[in-house]
C-alpha cells in the first residue's frame, strides 16, 4: 500500500493498532473536553441541590459514590467482553483493552469503597459494616487486585498473560452472581436489624438529576482513560518488540564479526 488510509470503515478495522492509535489521537481531546464539561456541570448540580432532610449534607457523597460503584461493575463487564474478544474472536486489541481496564476498575472500586465508608461513618456511626453491598464490592476489589497481580507476574509474556487472564476474567464474571447471592444470604443471617437500608426510599428527582449527570461524566471519564491506557499499552508492546528485534540484530552482527 503506497497510500495508506487511516479511515476506520468497519469495526474490524479497529483491529489494526496503527489505525486505532490514529483514531485515539483524533478523539481523545474531545472526550477529555466533554468529560471536563460534564464534571463541571455535574459538580455544580450536586452542590446546588438541596440536602436530604434525613441524611443532610452527606447525600452529596452519593453523587460520587453511586457512579463509582456503577463503574466498578461496568468496568468488569468491559473486561469480560474483552476477554471474550480475546478467546473467541481473537481480536488483537481485546487483550490490550482487558489489561488496561483492570487498574481503572480497581481505582473506581476503591473510590466506591472509600466514599461508601465515609458515608457510613456519619450515617451508621461506623466506618465499615459487613453489609451485603459493601461486602460484594470488596470482593470485586479483591478480584481486580488478583487480575492485576496476575498481569504483573506474567509481565514478560503479555500475550500469554492476556489469554489466561481472559479465562480468569470469565470465571470471575460467571461467579459474580453467585458471590452476590451468597453474600446476601449470609447477610440476612447475620444482619443486625439496626442498620439503615440505603435502598429504602425511592430517590427524589431532585437528587436524580445530578446523579445522572455525574454518572455520565464518570462513564466518559472511564472511557477516556481506557483508550489512553490502551494506547500506552500498545506503545509498550511495540517498544518491547523493537527491543527484541534490536537485540537479535546485535546478536547477528556479533556472530558475523
Amino acid at each position: 500500500m503506497s497510500e495508506p488510509s487511516l479511515a476506520i470503515r468497519k469495526f474490524s478495522d479497529l483491529a489494526n493498532p496503527t489505525r486505532f492509535l490514529a483514531l485515539v489521537a483524533l478523539l481523545w481531546p474531545w472526550m477529555a473536553g466533554l468529560t471536563l464539561c460534564l464534571f463541571a456541570f455535574g459538580l455544580y448540580l450536586s452542590f446546588a441541590t438541596l440536602g436530604d432532610y434525613q441524611q443532610g449534607e452527606t447525600v452529596r457523597i452519593m453523587y460520587i459514590h453511586v457512579p463509582a460503584a456503577w463503574l466498578s461493575m461496568m468496568c468488569y463487564s468491559v473486561m469480560a467482553v474483552s476477554a471474550l474478544g480475546t478467546l473467541v474472536w481473537r481480536h488483537p486489541l481485546a487483550d490490550v483493552s482487558a489489561k488496561a481496564a483492570a487498574p481503572l476498575g480497581a481505582c473506581f472500586t476503591l473510590i466506591a469503597l472509600i466514599t461508601g465508608s465515609l458515608w457510613g461513618k456519619p450515617m451508621w456511626g461506623t466506618w465499615w459494616v459487613w453489609d451485603a453491598r459493601l461486602t460484594s464490592v470488596f470482593v470485586l476489589f479483591l478480584m481486580y487486585l488478583g487480575l492485576i497481580a496476575l498481569n504483573r507476574a506474567m509481565a514478560d509474556d503479555p500475550t500469554r498473560a492476556a489469554k489466561v487472564g481472559a479465562v480468569l476474567i470469565l470465571v470471575g464474571f460467571v461467579n459474580i452472581p453467585i458471590i452476590k447471592f451468597s453474600v446476601e444470604w449470609w447477610n440476612t443471617l447475620h444482619q443486625p436489624a439496626s442498620v439503615v437500608r440505603l435502598d429504602g426510599p425511592t430517590i427524589d428527582p431532585e437528587f436524580l438529576r445530578p446523579l445522572m449527570v455525574m454518572a455520565v461524566a464518570f462513564t466518559l471519564f472511564f472511557f477516556t482513560l481506557h483508550v489512553l491506557a490502551m494506547r500506552n499499552e500498545i506503545l509498550r508492546r511495540r517498544i518491547s518488540v523493537l527491543r527484541r528485534h534490536a537485540a537479535r540484530a546485535v546478536g547477528r552482527e556479533g556472530s558475523d564479526a
Binding site: I61, L104, I111, I114, L118, L235, I239, L242
Partner: protein, 55 residues
C-alpha cells in the same frame, strides 16, 4: 464531626484517586514516547514505520 467534613473528605479522596489515574496514564505515555524516540534515535524503527501500515 460535621457532615461537611465527610463530604469534603470523600470528594477529596475521589479527586485524589482520579488525579492519580490521570497522572499515571499521562506519565506512562510520556515515558513510552521518550523510549520510542530513543530507539528511533538509535536507528531502530518499525519496519512499517514509513508506510504507516502495521505489517
Amino acid at each position: 464531626m460535621s457532615h461537611a467534613f465527610y463530604v469534603t473528605l470523600s470528594y477529596l479522596s475521589a479527586f485524589g484517586i482520579a488525579l492519580g489515574l490521570v497522572l499515571w496514564v499521562w506519565l506512562d505515555h510520556r515515558g513510552r514516547q521518550k523510549e520510542l524516540a530513543r530507539l528511533e534515535a538509535a536507528g531502530i524503527r518499525r519496519r512499517s514505520a514509513h508506510s504507516g501500515e502495521a505489517q
